[in-house]
Every structure is written in C-alpha cells, then in structure tokens.
C-alpha cells in the first residue's frame, strides 16, 4: 500500500510538472508568465480602483488582493479540475486507473503555479507595511485547509461533470455567485453580526478569505475553532469522495467513453 501510494503521488507530481512544462513551451515568455500574470492583475486593480473609479478607501488594493488571490486559487482550480476526468477520455479508454488521478493532477498543476502568486500577495502585504512575523505561521493551517477544500470540490465537480457535462456550465455560474457572496469586494466584518455569522458559517470560502485578511491585514488570528471544524468536515468529505470514486471507477470510465 505505501509503495502504491508513493507511485500514485509520484505519477501525479510528474504529470502535473509535465503539463506545466507543456503549457510553458507554448508561450514565448514561458515560465515568466507565472510572475507576469499576478503582476498584471495588480496593475489592472490599481488602474481601475485608484485612477478610474477613484475608490480611495484606505488600503483598498491590499484588501482586494488578499481576498482575490485565495479566492482565485479556489475558483480557477475547481473550474479546470471539473473537466479533468471527462477531458482524459483517451487515457481512461486504455488504462484501468484511479480516476482521482486526473483531479489530483489538475489540482497540483494549479498548486505549483500558485506559490508564485502567493509570493506576490505577500509582497503586496509587505509593501503596505505588514512585515512577516510569527503570526504569519497561522497561514500554514489555513493554506492546508483551503487545499483540502479545493480537492474536495474538484473531485465532486469532476465526478458530476463526467456523468452530465452540462454541470460545468452551472459550476461557472456558481463561481460568479460565490464571488459576490464571499466578501471579495466588501468586508464581511462590516455586516450586521447575525448576517456575518450566517455567511461565515455557511460559506467556507468567505471564512477563508476573511481569515487571510485577519492574518495579513489586521495582523491578528482567525477563529481557530471554526478552522478545525472546517478541517474535520473536509477530511470526512475527502474520505467519502475517494471511496465513492473508487467504487464507481469503471462506471465513470464507461460514461466517459460513451460520451
């Protein structure tokens, strides 16, 4: 079993890195885009909010950036991963392998690119006078839980899309809904207490976005008990979805091949 697990993750790692290598080889600027993309994003925000809209609220760019980056990690990964099983028809048609592999590859591909984006986000925080301290250590469990959450939703959406491809359209719309309800452009802390608790309890992404802001902007700590609850839920969810995908492996293959 440990050998099998090691081989599985070694394959995930190799496939994800090869995908990135392939993607980079299609562009003239290659891996440079990993840095360029978040930097252009900051430039756009700066132009739109500081110059055109003149929303001069204090540190609005920092507020927006620290919210948007963790949110984008979630939405971009889940959207790409949702098509990962259906998109690997050729391989699924030829090898009997765990279908979770394709989801893991998509999630890790995004993860390997994400660390550069996070570095830029930390850079923006430092630029705004938030120096790294011990408090930043609270980001580690937060990142781990967000990774688990991304993995769970990626698997769930990839499973659904392999049966009904139309669900991908719904996921795209769902992400827009999430963007407006997760406090990316507004601060969840400014809501009336009852509504604030409601949003933070039922929208895990709103909680994660707010937690990043607590650490990086307010230099305080998020509700650790709530993160623990979320981690427990994510672990149970991941165990169940792995079990389900293992049981349904050949049914998924038949659906993908027939599609």
């Amino acid at each position: 079993m440990p050998t099998k697990l090691y081989r599985f993750f070694s394959l995930v790692n190799t496939l994800a890195k090869m995908e990135l290598k392939e993607e980079a080889s299609r562009f003239v600027l290659r891996y440079f885009w990993w840095i360029l993309e978040p930097v252009i994003l900051i430039a756009i925000y700066y132009l739109v909010f500081e110059y055109f809209l003149r929303i001069g609220a204090e540190e609005f760019i920092l507020f927006l950036f620290v919210g948007k980056i963790p949110f984008l990690w979630f939405t971009k990964t889940v959207l790409v991963a949702s098509g990962s099983i259906a998109g690997n028809k050729g391989l699924i048609n030829n090898i009997d392998m765990p279908k979770t592999l394709f989801v893991y590859v998509s999630v890790h591909e995004a993860l390997y690119k994400q660390w550069v984006v996070f570095l830029v986000m930390f850079g923006v925080a430092v630029f705004n006078g938030r120096w790294p301290g011990l408090n930043w250590g609270w980001l580690i469990p937060l990142l781990a839980v967000e990774y688990g959450l991304i993995l769970f939703f990626s698997m769930f959406s990839a499973l659904c899309v392999s049966f009904v491809p139309d669900i991908r359209m719904l996921i795209q719309m769902g992400m827009i809904f999430l963007m407006f309800t997760s406090g990316i452009f507004w601060d969840v802390e400014n809501l009336p207490p009852a509504l604030r608790d409601l949003v933070l309890t039922w929208n895990p992404l709103a909680f994660i976005v707010d937690a990043f802001r607590q650490v990086l902007i307010h230099e305080s700590v998020y509700d650790r008990f709530q993160l623990l609850e979320l981690a427990a839920l994510v672990i149970v969810g991941l165990l169940l979805i792995h079990l389900l995908m293992h049981k349904m492996s050949r049914t998924i293959a038949a659906k993908v091949v027939e599609a």
Binding site: R7, I95, R250, E258
Partner: protein, 278 residues
C-alpha cells in the same frame, strides 16, 4: 569331487539370484522413471492449462447520447465466453466494428461488461499496450516515454532507467530530445512501440501494434513481439490480419458483429478468416 560340484551349484545359484535382483532393480527403475515422467508431464499439462482469465457470457452495450432525449444503443459484444490459459498467445481476429477492441478493453479491466463476468486470477497484472499512450505533442520523446511508462505502472526511476533502451530501439537519435510535434507519423509510431514494449505485466493485451513504422521497423517490431511471446508471457493480440495471428498465436478467436464466429487453433482459424476475406 562332490564338494566341487556343490560349490559350482552354489555359485550358479548366487549368479542367478544376483541376475534376478539386477533385473528387478532395472525393471523397478524403469517403472519409476516412467511414473516420474508421467507425473512431470501431467504437472506441465495442468500448469499450461491453468486459466489466468476467464470470460463468462459477457455482453457490452454502448449507450450514446445523440440528442436531448435521444440515445443510440449499440450492442458491441453479445454472449462471449472463453478462457485464457497461462503462457498462451491468443489472437482475436475481426474486421472493423466486430467488437475486438471493446473485448480487449474489458480484458484490461478498463470498463465492466453490461452483463456477464470477466474473472482474473488474483494478483494478476495486465496492461493494454497502446501506441503513444497519453503522448503530448509539445513535450520531447524522452519526456513522453517517461510519462507513458509511468502510466503503464513503472516507477519514475524505472521509467528513467529504461530511456536509453527506448531511444536505441526507436532509432530516433537526436530527435529523442525534440518535441513529438516535430516527428513524422512513422517516428511517432516507433517511439510508441518502443515505449509500450517496455511494459512488464502477467497478461499483455495488444491492439494492432505491429503496424508501426516502415518495413524494416515492422520486422523489428514483429521480432521483438515474437521474443516476448517466446518468453512464455500470456499475450492477447488483436488483429485484422489472419497471417499475423497464424505467425504469432497458439489459439485464435474470430469475432463478427459482437459474437464468436470461430474459435480454436490459430492456424485453422487464421486460414478460414483469410479465406473469408478473399
């Protein structure tokens, strides 16, 4: 005088007894040898007839969506049963659309049959040998060979260690490090075949792989395949060429419209199949 006679008689009796004992010894030895030989051949027979896979009355139906409420149902295999013995080479013959590739996918465990059973001996590893499995055209031949080997179950170290032999067998030279999109169709096939031949499993399932490259490489591929078959591996070979099956297989199945039209010795089935084509 009489003592001399008695001595001679005794010596004669001893000699006779000794001869009888010797005869009995040789007879027993021969009998035991024959029995041992018999047991050995019985063991060999039972070993070679041991089933590694058995297919019981399988049916496979494709249901494809062709409209919002319309579905196209196609029965690719209908009531197929046969056994695969350890160490044998089974050929599956059939024209396009006869269901042979679907059967191979069921044997590989990629999909389950709609009904019936595909039983496999415990701990048996099997792989469907496909040319260019998961090849990405923007990556080099070397990267693709590593990926393909890992997808077939090798570890990364094993995959990397096999690269020199893959490079040599595929005869790609300096192209091996170039993106696959720069390859000709023949070069792609050669890389695909060289990578696929690297797989080590109990049951090797091959889908019309021998058509790779030019005549020289085809011969090299056929020899490599024959070599693996000779090394007593269990092989299932799908082909639409009766002569190829005659050349490489012990037994053959002839599929037509999803049912078995003929089954038996590869020479006989291959010949009948070829006759039907002319």
């Amino acid at each position: 005088m009489s003592e001399d006679r008695d001595d001679a008689k005794i010596r004669g009796d001893h000699a006779r007894a000794l001869k009888a004992l010797r005869d009995q010894y040789f007879n027993d030895r021969r009998r035991l040898q024959a029995r041992l030989e018999n047991l050995r051949s019985k063991y060999q027979t039972s070993k070679s007839t041991r089933l590694i896979m058995s297919v019981k009355d399988i049916r496979f139906t494709y249901v494809t969506r062709v409209g919002m409420f319309k579905r196209f149902v196609h029965c690719a295999l209908d009531g197929i049963s046969f056994g695969l013995r350890k160490g044998e080479t089974l050929g599956i013959l059939g024209r396009n659309g006869s269901g042979k590739s679907t059967l191979l996918r069921l044997l590989a465990g990629v999909v389950d049959p709609s009904s019936g059973e595909v039983e496999c001996a415990p701990e048996t590893t099997r792989a469907l040998l496909t040319l260019g499995l998961g090849f990405r055209s923007d990556l080099s031949g070397s990267d693709n060979a590593v990926l393909s080997a890992m997808l077939q179950g090798s570890s990364k170290d094993e995959a990397v260690a096999a690269l020199p032999s893959i490079k040599e067998f595929s005869e790609l030279g300096s192209f091996f490090e170039q993106p696959v999109k720069t390859y000709s169709a023949g070069m792609r096939s050669r890389l695909g075949f060289a990578t696929a031949m690297n797989t080590n499993v109990d049951v090797l399932l091959i889908d019309e792989a021998l058509g790779a490259g030019d005549a020289h490489f085809r011969q090299k591929a056929t020899d490599a395949m024959a070599n693996r078959i000779k090394n007593s591996e269990t092989v299932v070979l799908v082909s639409h060429n009766g002569s190829e099956v005659q050349q490489l297989c012990d037994r053959a199945l002839w599929l037509e419209h999803g049912v078995i039209r003929m089954e038996g010795n590869a020479q006989v089935v291959g010949e009948k199949y070829n006759e039907s084509a002319t």
